[in-house]
Amino acid sequence: MNAFWRALSKNRLALVGGAIVLVLAVMAVAAPLVAPHDPHKLDIKRILEPPSARHWLGTDQVGRDVLSRMLYGARVSLAVGFVSVGIAAAIGIALGAAAGYHGGTVDGAVMRLVDLMLVFPRFFLLLAVLAFLKPSIWTIMVVIGLTGWMGVARLVRAEFLALKEREFVIWSQSVGASALRIIWRHILPNAMAPVLVAMTLGIPAAILTESGLSFLGLGVRPPYATWGNILNDGKEVIELAWWLSVYPGLAILVTVLSYNLLGEGIRDALDPRLRQSVGRFGARGR
């Protein structure tokens, strides 16, 4: 673990990424304290005002403060990122562990399910599922989680295939430990490194996906502000108010960039060999 911190602290880009990730998280949590205005308060006298001392990032079509909306939007975007990646990791770990440990029919069934899910372009699949559901923040989280677990399942399975042949596992089996206990207590802790990296890189992917859906008007619904929502409002008045379109996009870019830098830094610090298996193309949302 010490070697890990030493390697990570030498990677300046990863540290910058980590710092931005932390600042964003703090600002999102403290949004009610930090935000200069009420994000939902309409002010018809101040419609589409350009950035000024009063409204740092301007106002939107109904006079709401863009900065405050972006701060509250950070809450939703980050929450969607964390929760959906949590769901994806839980499913991926459970299925991947079962497939890798038991092998045979279980393995075959799980891996064919993974292949089946990977045939559908993710964005099309998301849209199709969302068409059947009532849109809310929770549906978005669940749906992004349910369509994003395949990578984790493959990683966990590969780790389990290698680890289950090791002496400490065979020893536990011979003294009669149950399969669940061996999976949970003995193998999983040793298989977590690539999963953690995949999760760190999965959060920006989920944020990109959510903002893309919200931009199309199919994600998180108003009155909740998210970065994608604000961009969706902005595209209607793009010729009048550039600030509605520029700033939320920059926020997404910086967030995703920081998470990617941090994730790649963690990966390199944990084990440079992981470069092969985790993370390439993990960061694109679809």
Partner: protein, 237 residues
């Protein structure tokens, strides 16, 4: 409905794929052979920024810049309403100018990913012994890199290319919606707005089949690049 739209999406994706490969391979090879040069560092920055840029935002920004402020390029549709009455060359130019922005947006992220992947793959290959021996027997550097190293470095790229097809097709949803291109992606979004379930399902089946076909092509092209891999007539193992 789908028959009109499928060729548009298909053609766009094939063009995008060709552009990505045509640009990412030289960029990746150059940054691998000149590791840590200014060029390499510049592409690394581009890769990280390209990865993090939301494509829909990039699309909107380009629309503002080239469509609204500069007025150089049209920002929606495939052709002008008066297209049929234009002379031949103007027709071609009109078509190309409509496609320039959408294709730029759609290739941006993929380009970043592939040039990075190409660099990584090339870096591994040029450290191998046979590259050294090719140099030792006096072959010019261009043959060593362009023939001996590149062929082997391309193998993992083909795998990734096949795997990235669903992503590229998924990207058409955003690009086609923003630029009002009448393709499958736009149809999908409209169908979701209207809750037109049969159209949604048909769309899903078709894009899934496209993915399968693309994967098949990726598998077949292995044998083109690496003569050691043969596609056998029967499923021998």
């Amino acid at each position: 409905m789908i028959r009109e739209r499928l060729p548009i999406t298909l053609a766009l994706n094939v063009v995008e794929m060709l552009i990505i490969v045509a640009m990412a391979v030289p960029v990746g090879v150059t940054s691998a052979t000149r590791q840590y040069s200014t060029f390499d560092k510049a592409t690394t920055v581009f890769v990280f920024v390209g990865f993090a840029t939301p494509d829909f935002w990039l699309a909107v920004m380009l629309q503002i810049l080239f469509g609204v402020h500069l007025g150089w390029l049209p920002i929606s549709g495939l052709r002008l309403p008066v297209w049929e009455y234009l002379p031949f060359w103007q027709q071609q130019w009109d078509f190309a100018s409509h496609l320039l922005l959408p294709i730029t947006v759609a290739t941006f992220g993929g380009l970043a990913g592939f040039s990075r992947y190409m660099r990584q793959s090339m870096l591994e290959v040029i450290r191998q012994d046979y590259v050294q021996s090719a140099r030792a027997k006096g072959l010019p550097e261009s043959v060593v890199i362009g023939k001996h190293a590149l062929r082997n470095a391309m193998l993992p790229i083909v795998t990734v290319l096949g795997l990235s097809v669903p992503g590229l097709i998924g990207g058409s949803v955003i690009v086609e919606t923003i630029f009002a291109i009448p393709g499958m992606g736009q149809l999908m979004v409209q169908a979701v707005y209207e809750r037109d379930y049969p159209v949604i399902m048909a769309n899903l089946v078709i894009v899934a089949s496209l993915t399968l076909v693309a994967n098949l092509f990726a598998d077949l092209s292995y044998s083109l690049i690496d003569p050691r891999i043969r596609v056998s007539r029967r499923g021998r193992r």
